[in-house]
């Protein structure tokens, strides 16, 4: 029987060569990244083709997504935050679509690899730093000095703030990665129970209904998690971008 970890295995489809120890290849992960972007592209191409005053179904849905992300961004980072809208919207759509595409049986979940989620988190983190320094210069460092703190405590607080700032991309990437990974492993493990119990004869088949019910419940939960983690990733991105725009506490 296949290991629950097999679904995360990266398999080259077309090898392009090697750099040191790393093989550069178009893999199943690359394929699903492409499918994610393709799905988003096709959907939005169709949804925004008409640009009608009274939207159809597709356009309504596209506008709903737009306003959902725009409202999240505006409430976290204010009106100026809208300059980051393309980035935040791209992140949301990519993570959401990748999460949902991973729910198709037999597919590959792009966001279940830490390097992908961490890279996306680093995009946010580096954007925050670049924009923060570009907009505020050294004032951006005021982010690390909590206002109104006693002078004696300031050095400690600055250390804590710096650590918490540096841990942001790690926690941001880790959260998404761990949620997707754990959910998919749990589904596979319970599915494995169904198969192994079913092989034990009539009693086993009856016993297998229990993990089967679990799979149904977990699948529903995983759909929720798929959306929720995309939303959490987006809202935290907005909160971090707010720091770049308004570093004062």
């Amino acid at each position: 029987m296949a290991s629950p970890l097999d679904q995360f295995q990266i398999k080259p489809i077309v090898s392009l060569g090697r750099i040191g120890n790393s093989e550069i290849a178009f893999t199943n992960s690359s394929l699903f990244m492409m499918l994610v972007v393709l799905a988003i592209g096709v959907f939005f191409m169709m949804a925004t083709a008409q640009r009608s005053l009274v939207p159809g179904r597709l356009q309504s849905f596209a506008e709903m997504l737009y306003e959902f992300v725009a409202n999240t961004l505006k409430s976290a980072a204010g009106k100026e935050g809208m300059q980051f809208f393309p980035l935040v919207f791209s992140l949301f759509l990519f993570v959401l679509t990748a999460n949902f595409m991973g729910m198709i049986p037999g597919s590959f979940t792009v966001t279940s690899h830490i390097i992908v989620t961490f890279a996306l988190a680093m995009v946010v983190f580096l954007t925050v730093i670049a924009v923060g320094f570009a907009k505020h210069g050294t004032h951006f460092l005021g982010l690390f000095v909590p206002g109104g703190a006693p002078a004696l405590l300031v050095p400690f607080l600055v250390v804590i703030e710096v650590i918490s700032f540096l841990s942001r991309p790690i926690s941001l990437g880790m959260r998404l990665f761990a949620n997707m990974l754990a959910g998919h492993i749990a589904l596979k493990v319970f599915a494995g129970f169904v198969v192994s119990l079913g092989a034990l004869g009539i009693g086993g088949i009856l016993g297998a209904t229990l993990p089967l019910g679990m799979i149904v419940a977990l699948t529903a939960l995983e759909f929720l998690v798929a959306f929720l983690q995309a939303y959490v990733f987006t809202i935290l991105t907005c909160v971090y971008l707010n720091d770049a725009l308004h570093p004062g506490h």
């Binding site: 970890l5 995360f8 295995q9 990266i10 080259p12 750099i19 120890n21 790393s22 093989e23 550069i24 290849a25 178009f26 893999t27 992960s29 690359s30 990244m33 492409m34 994610v36 972007v37 988003i40 592209g41 939005f44 191409m45 925004t48 640009r51 009608s52 005053l53 939207p55 356009q59 596209a62 506008e63 737009y66 306003e67 809208f85 393309p86 980035l87 919207f89 791209s90 759509l93 990519f94 279940s112 690899h113 830490i114 390097i115 992908v116 961490f118 890279a119 996306l120 680093m122 995009v123 580096l126 790690i170 990665f177 990974l181």
Partner: protein, 180 residues
Amino acid sequence: MASPQKTGTEVPGGSADVGFPPFKTETFASQLLWLAIFFGLLYWMVSKVFAPRLTDVIEGRAARIARDLDDAAAAKAKAEEAGLAYEKSLADAKARAQGIAQAKRDEVNAAVEARRKALEGDLAAKLAAAEAQIGTTKSRAMANVEGIAAEAAAAIVQRLGGASPSKGDLDAALKAALKA
């Protein structure tokens, strides 16, 4: 976004098929490359095509709604203004009609009054004339009465006394009698 990822991962197993797939560092370069390509493509599409299109549609609709609301408010104001103008012209017309009616009434009243005055004057003059005529007739009658009374008195005295009274006595007696 390519550099610092390798530091965060310690690899438990090295070979291709054993170990935990997300922690296999040899797959990282490939994943990062394709992520950069496809996420870059997505970002380009969103920032150059989809976001501007959606912004246009949504802001265009908001602007259209605001404009329509403004138009409606302007039309309402105009309608209210027209209503006020109508009421004002109605009130003016009523006032003018009342004015005209009043003027006509006054005119008619004045004419009637004048006619009445003229009639009254006429009647008064006729009355006065009639009274004057009555007066003259009366005084003429009275004069005749005196003559008749004198003649009658003279005849009575002659019949009773046999002698005809003198004219002077008769007049004196007559005057005294008439005075009584």
